[in-house]
């Protein structure tokens, strides 16, 4: 680089320069990049341990340039608890899908948050089980067609989609809980800010933090990537409002009545 020039865009140090297995147009990649950028900006990569889920992000241990642990399905918050309690000096995050966190791992996430474990959870909500081929998730939208709800999610039989950020924000234990999205550049910028706040709360030793991120699954939604982004805006955002639900000092409230 000629002297005097400043890089304005570069590959994050916390992301390994490898080909990922994510489908074209999937926003898992965008979220990976934002997490990596935040680790770099906070200067904590070398003392970070990430926990990969079971789901499409299972191989994320190959993508982050940090020490990683691979958890069993849904148990990442318990694994992260073990790491953080063993080594409180480490920065520990989990990266989990909605099947992983809101279905099989409901118990682990609730109690991890309620104990106030000082970890950061990156919760990727794409309203479907991506990895196993598009089955219904607890977050699947009413009427949404999946391989196990072929006529559309029938809420009279399986209930309404679970809103994790809202549920977790009811806990009395101090924490940071927010929801962002990545279907538009502006939302991505805001979501990265949420991630920065979440990790900062951990680095400062203050509280549990979780950022739910609305994400796309073009492959299993059967939509081209740009239409998948529109579907997030039209179908998911009205039901899963974006914003900060809870801060450790109780400053912010839900952005709209639920």
């Amino acid at each position: 680089m000629p002297s005097g020039t400043q890089p304005v865009f570069s590959y994050p140090e916390a992301l390994r320069d490898v080909t990922t297995h994510y489908c074209p147009g999937c926003t898992h990649g965008v979220i990976h990049r934002m997490v990596a950028e935040v680790l770099d900006e906070l200067g904590v990569r070398q003392r970070t341990v990430g926990v990969s889920p079971v789901g499409c992000a299972v191989l994320s241990y190959n993508y982050f340039a940090a020490d990683m642990q691979e958890a069993s399905h849904g148990r990442a918050p318990a694994v992260a608890t073990g790491i953080k309690r063993a080594r409180p000096d480490l920065v520990v995050f989990t990266y989990q899908g909605d099947g992983d966190l809101a279905s099989i791992g409901m118990s682990e996430i609730m109690h991890c948050a309620n104990r106030g474990e000082k970890i950061t959870v990156v919760f990727v909500n794409n309203a479907i089980y991506g990895m196993t081929g598009g089955q219904m998730a607890p977050t699947t939208m009413p009427g949404q067609i999946t391989t196990t709800s072929p006529l559309g999610r029938d809420v009279s039989l399986v209930g309404e989609p679970i809103r994790m950020a809202e549920i977790l924000s009811t806990l009395h234990t101090p924490g940071f809980v927010a929801r962002g999205a990545v279907h538009r550049p502006l939302e991505s910028v805001k979501t990265k800010d949420l991630l920065r706040r979440a990790f900062t709360y951990q680095v400062e030793g203050r509280c549990f933090s979780l950022v739910e991120i609305l994400s796309t699954c073009p492959t299993n939604w059967g939509l081209p990537p740009h239409e998948a982004c529109e579907w997030v805006e039209k179908t998911m955002v009205p039901y899963y409002p974006l914003g900060v639900f809870k801060t450790p000092d109780g400053g912010d409230r839900a952005p709209r009545p639920l």
Binding site: R45, Q46, R47, T48, V49, V51, V58, L59, Y61, N62, A65, A66, D67, M68, Q69, E70, A71, S72, R75, A78, V79, A80, T81, G82, I83, K84, R85, A86, R87, L90, S107, E108, M110, H111, R115
Partner: protein, 362 residues
């Protein structure tokens, strides 16, 4: 250090702390509640951490994380809780993480009862969870031995990077006996630094990835071969057992482990006073099982008697060892009932006078 009168559960907790374990994650279940209770007040005194998990599923995955971060860690539970941990035990074995798991067995199946049992032998020694894996299994017969084996379990777990069970029955957990913690205890093995642990990657070693996923068939097969090679080393080097009366003549060889072996020892002494010659082989390591020792000791007996607090589980390993060269008999109690010395002695007499039915292909 002088001997101290302690409950088995408390001795187990204290032994773990003295082995350098500062982390405990567990969930209450009878008859081992005194282990978490003891540690909840002792660990903070030594700068350690006690976490009451939301479930045994949570606890077993917490020890995965802590072991993956390179720290000594343990959990304890009883049978139904150990069942819930089986998912994690498979992952722990697959990811080669050193942990110690104490199972103070109670009677099953299902919720069963809270009284002593040895009915989790299969679960502990034959894998328990999915996939091809094994865990070391150590079975104490006294409070002192429980404390000693807990210390050894941490060394073995670290050395082999493998889960190690300490398998006791409700008696081991609940009875009080004098116990001594040796200050001069040396590690069983030369233990290498845990350079594989996930402790933050600074580029001075390969990136640590704690994992059991291998999507490529050949890579996974190689991983399995490596695991099997490790288990073969364990089977060669870690067999532990004790014999009682094996030096002299005997007609019946009793094979029993844990507190049951102690009951049988009383029976054996009573029988000897009456001129009836029995001897005992007590496996201390249930995995690896002392096949050779059982084979050799059985060759000098007329018959073999297996005594267990189960419907007959270890008997299958005895059958493998004896290989139909001697008649094998069985006496077992279930439901939480114990074997009394009189009962065991009576069974030996029945074996000798032909009133006992030989067990075949139990």
């Amino acid at each position: 250090m002088a001997k101290k009168l302690m409950k088995g559960c408390e001795a187990i907790g204290e032994a773990a702390i003295r082995a350098g374990c500062k982390l405990f994650f567990g969930y209450p279940i009878t008859p081992q509640n005194e282990i978490p209770e003891y540690l909840s007040h002792r660990l903070p005194q030594v700068g350690g951490t006690f976490v009451q998990a939301e479930s045994e599923v949570g606890a077993s995955n917490m020890i995965y994380g802590a072991a993956g971060a390179g720290e000594r860690v343990f959990t304890s539970s009883s049978s139904p809780g150990i069942s819930l941990m089986q998912e994690a035990v498979s992952y722990l074995a697959g990811a080669e993480l050193p942990v110690v798991i104490v199972n103070i067995m109670r009677a099953g199946p299902g919720l069963g009862g809270i009284l002593p049992s040895q009915a989790d032998y299969f679960q502990a020694t034959k894998g328990g969870g999915h996939g091809d894996f094994n865990t070391l299994v150590l079975a104490p017969w006294s409070v002192q031995e429980a404390a000693d084996l807990v210390a050894d379990a941490f060394d073995l777990a670290d050395y082999y990077r493998n889960p190690v069970y300490v398998l006791g029955d409700g008696l081991i957990g609940q009875m009080m006996e004098p116990v001594e913690f040796r200050e001069d205890r040396k590690p069983l093995k030369d233990l290498a630094a845990k350079t594989w642990a996930s402790t933050g990657w600074k580029g001075d070693r390969p990136r640590a990835v704690i994992n059991s996923l291998y999507l490529d068939a050949d890579t996974l097969e190689q991983h399995n071969r490596d695991l099997q090679a490790k288990y073969a080393t364990i089977r060669r080097d870690e067999v532990r057992w004790q014999g009682y009366g094996l030096d002299g003549d005997y007609d019946v060889l009793i094979v029993a482990y844990g507190t049951v072996a102690r009951v049988c020892l009383t029976a054996m002494e009573e029988l000897r006073e009456q001129g009836i010659k029995a001897a005992i082989l007590r496996p201390i390591s249930l995995y690896p099982f002392p096949y050779d020792a059982v084979r050799q000791a059985s060759a000098r007996a007329r018959a073999v008697l297996v005594v267990e607090l189960s419907a007959g589980q270890m008997i299958q390993d005895v059958q493998l060892a004896v290989a139909e060269t001697r008649p094998i008999h069985f006496h077992g109690r279930t439901g939480g009932n114990l074997v009394s010395p009189d009962e065991a002695a009576a069974k030996v007499r029945e074996v000798l006078d032909g009133r006992s039915q030989e067990v075949r292909n139990a």
